[in-house]
Symmetry: C2
Subunit: 323 residues, 2 copies
């Protein structure tokens, strides 16, 4: 299998480029006309580090690689635009398997309105994806950064947390309290995350002062937002929206479900700070197609405090994956 032949077969599978893309894959570079300002982020998914081919389908790996990168654009409130991918192909992975991974990316691209505008294929020891995504806005000020949260702002979390961590722990466990469909849903949240692009734009439109995706765990990413904004965050542990089945799984492992949920990564939900006045989370959630929960507030000071009933505090487990 040669580089040129595989790239040609990949190109055949790509949908036609969208409006901003004037030249798609196949020239020395892709040509686009951006929408005033761009937000660009990169992410990598490496076999043996972020996934195993035993547990993850190739299409799922491709889809997740793109979803993880797009989640950063969601956290900026960006309109998704283009994606560029370096696909590293290990010995023994045949062309059809490569195309299965590409098809997973294509499906995620189509469902999010992203154009796969360019890429490269290289040999390497393990399957990996390095993805660059570009999102758009009319002006740079439209993007929501990690800095900008102000004391008094409400803290809002999209969706539910803990599912991806629970889905990672599930394989091989026997948890009778967990119904099969619930267990399957937890696995899907781990293997097939969906970037919260509509929610990100809705929150940006509602005046979010700061935003981040909680890909490294709510505890860690709340800390990043607090540090960048030079504020403190006070989170009400009882308000946290735990995904269905997380409590049962945590019980089976004799672990605290809340601690599991705030420490585990890969939920790809968004944490935003917004002025509380007139905040309509029900309306925002309906517009974005995902629940939104007020989980706390921004305060003067520094750091993240996750409060339990009775004045106790929840300490997230350390989370620092090189990757």
């Amino acid at each position: 299998m040669g580089e040129f032949e595989l790239l040609a077969r990949v190109r055949e599978r790509l949908p036609p480029p969208h409006g901003r893309v004037r030249v798609g894959s196949g020239d020395d570079a892709a040509v686009t006309v951006p929408g005033g300002a761009t937000a660009t982020s990169v992410d990598a998914l490496v076999e043996g580090v972020h996934f195993s081919r035993d547990g993850t389908g190739l299409g799922q790996a491709g889809s997740k690689a793109l979803a993880a990168a797009l989640s950063d654009l969601a956290a900026m409130g960006a309109e998704p635009g283009e994606a560029y991918v370096v696909l590293t192909v290990p010995p023994g992975l045949d062309e059809d398997a490569c195309l299965e991974a590409v098809d997973g990316m294509v499906a995620m691209a189509e469902s999010t309105g992203t154009t796969l505008a360019g890429g490269d294929v290289t040999r390497g020891p393990v399957l990996s994806f390095a993805v660059t995504v570009v999102g758009h806005a009319s002006t740079p000020e439209r993007f929501v950064r990690r800095r900008g949260a102000r004391p008094g702002d409400a803290l809002v979390l999209t969706g539910e947390i803990g599912a991806a961590a629970a889905g990672l722990l599930l394989p091989g466990l026997d948890v009778p309290a967990l119904a099969a469909p619930t267990a399957a849903a937890l696995r899907r949240r781990q293997l097939e995350p969906v970037p919260r692009l509509a929610a990100g734009r809705a929150l940006a439109g509602a005046g979010a002062t700061a935003m981040i995706d909680v890909s490294d765990g709510l505890g860690a990413d709340a800390g990043h937002l607090a540090a960048a904004s030079e504020v403190g965050l006070r989170i009400d542990a009882e308000a946290l929206p735990l995904a269905e089945g997380v409590a049962e799984l945590a019980a089976a492992l004799d672990r605290d479900p809340l601690r599991l949920a705030v420490s585990g990564g890969e939920d790809y939900e968004l944490l935003a700070a917004l002025p509380p006045r007139g905040l309509d989370l029900v309306g925002l959630g309906e517009a974005a197609g995902v629940g939104m929960t007020r989980i706390g507030e921004v305060v003067a000071g520094a750091g993240v405090e996750i409060r339990l009933p009775g004045g106790r505090k929840l300490e997230p487990a350390g989370f620092d994956h090189l990757g």
Copy 2:
């Protein structure tokens, strides 16, 4: 070594972002204000495929990874803008070694006016770089594509070819005919390529109708330009600018120097088609700081013909590196 700590140390080494970049590394995404239209390309450099740590310094590897990506922007006639890098770190490579690779990239970025605007660090089995570069122009039409060459156009090549291939073959060889400084220059062309950004812009400004970088070898890349433009290319083998020392090395290996030069990749020179009327290659070359040679012409038809004296034809060796 954790991801966050290493990224923090990387960020300390990055020069401040340039004009177009409003938010550099450290948020969910970098924010830029592009110049009307963008050209975006990706490239990868993988240990064991494209380089070995035995033969290549870490700084050289970092510099070459960025240079190879920027060469694609040169071939579009783009103004270099931003670069985004996924650095994969193998077990046993310590933080200082990672930073040496980063320093190589920083030096290449500085010398070309590129901003390292974002990146990611991940673990993986071998050292690798996946680089996305973004270049700018006022309108999408300003970029020069592979298609567009017209019969009657002159074919122009920047610089000299064969040096990178010769530099790859050199280690371990004893070539008495090759002076030490010449041999060292050949090695540098292999290990420390320089993207022809100024030349690309000069050729675009002079009305280039089509352009490509000859990273896969002049023979192969001329074929790509011919196919994209739906024309034939006629190249005069005797006009080809061979780098100093290529003839001596080829003689020592009993190989044809011209065939070596047109088949070997990684020269990162530019091949452009331009209307011949009023073409001032001396002036263009002086403006761009690199020699420019007229090596042939565009003709009706298809394919690439490299003509030798006496009507014979030179067939490039096959070149298809998956990488």
